[in-house]
Each structure stands twice: as C-alpha cells, then as structure tokens.
Symmetry: C2
Subunit: 130 residues, 2 copies
C-alpha cells in the first residue's frame, strides 16, 4: 500500500460506553472491546498518524458501536453500527484513507462499506482562527 | 435573562440540503428554509455569540432538518428532527445555553426538549495543540 500524503495527526474517538444487546451484565461492554481491539490493531501499524482516545458516550446510543474521527483542517466523521469483533482493521483502513486527504473527504467509492453504511454525521473543519 | 459567561464564538452549521418528505420539487428545501429562519431569528438577538454557516450535507439525511454546533474548547453537538417552521428560536435558546458553558455540556434537564430528543451525536473538544 502506498504511503498517504503527509498529514496532521488524526484523533479516533471510541465510545467505550456503547453497549451491545448481547453484552453480558458483567464484563467489558462492546465499546470497550472495540477500543481494545483498535489499540491492538494500531500497535501493528506504527506509521498510521492516529491517536486513539476513549470517550464516555458519543450520544449515538442506538447504533453501537460508535467512533468519530477528527483532525485539524479536516471534516469530522461519526460512524456507528460497528462490530467490535471484526471491524478494528477496516476502521483503521478507513482512517488511513482519511489521513491521506487534505480535507478528510475520501471519495465515496473508496470508503469502506462499513463507513458508507454506518455514517452517522459529518461536521465541517473548524474555522482557522486564534 | 442573565448574560451567559464570557464565551468564544460558536458556529452553528445548518444543513441546507436536508429535504423534508413534504417538500415540493421546486422551491427551497426544508434545510434552506431552516437556515433562513435561523438567520432571521439571530438578527433579533445581536448579543448571541453565534455565527451561522450553511453546509451542504451533514450526512444525517434520515433525520431532517439537521444542525451542528461547535466552538473552540467545547464539545460539538449534532441535532436532527428539527422543524424549519417552528424550531429556529428554540435552537437559538439551546445555543445560548451552550455558549454559556465552559465545555459545551448543558445540564440535561436544562436542554430544550428538541435537543434531548434530536441529539444525533456529540464529539469531544479538539485537543489544544499547535
């Protein structure tokens, strides 16, 4: 895979309070499991300019699991309906594409299927002001 | 009403491509009508530290109309299910409360009903970095 463009670091927020209907009463929730899977998958990709940050609730409670990706100068995207057991690598693939764009907008057909179907919202880049 | 705390300006993004099922084929879409209503309502509140910015698609297409509010150092919130005919003032009321907080988190019971029911997602403040 070719190296993405030089890029500002991206922050991948992972909702750790997301609960799956099948979650047992005890033990880590689906969101916490997704966070751990992402941290493990990221450790295998040292070149990816991503920092993972656990968050208590992204307010997308009806579509677990949920993540958001943000980066200076880029659109912020929120994704839901993510399966903690299988989606860590595809999320990182998508973030890698995002990190390779100047504005965060990856062409539709290049986006992972999980991002096309799971998009919850997007927010424009913050205005560049002091 | 008491003046809110000193606050950084807030940006209110309004999706102007949101289309209501009842929208006629011709004429402005529901999102564009909400944008106009908000601009008009804001003109009547010169003290509110809000800048309205129209956006082509916030990717919340199933829950029109949609807005997002962001501000340096504060959480970003995305809201949907907003009625362009009646919700401009309540949105500005909610943004006024938001602008009066240090972090953007308005206590739940103080939030307008439209924001409680219509919340789509929230994203943490961007890290303070150069």
């Amino acid at each position: 895979m070719s190296e993405p463009l030089p890029s500002d670091p991206c922050t991948l927020y992972v909702c750790t309070t997301c609960r799956d209907a099948a979650d047992p009463a005890e033990g880590p929730r689906a969101g916490a499991r997704l966070h751990d899977a992402l941290a493990q998958a990221l450790a295998a990709r040292p070149g990816l300019p991503v920092r993972i940050e656990p968050v208590e609730c992204l307010s997308v409670c009806k579509r677990p699991c949920t993540v958001a990706v943000a980066s200076p100068g880029r659109w912020t995207y929120v994704y839901g309906d993510l399966d903690p057991a299988i989606s860590a690598d595809v999320i990182l693939d998508g973030i890698g594409l995002y990190a390779g764009t100047p504005d965060g907008i990856v062409p539709w057909r290049e986006r992972p299927q999980e991002f096309r179907k799971g998009v919850v919202a997007r927010i424009p880049p913050a205005p560049v002001t002091a």
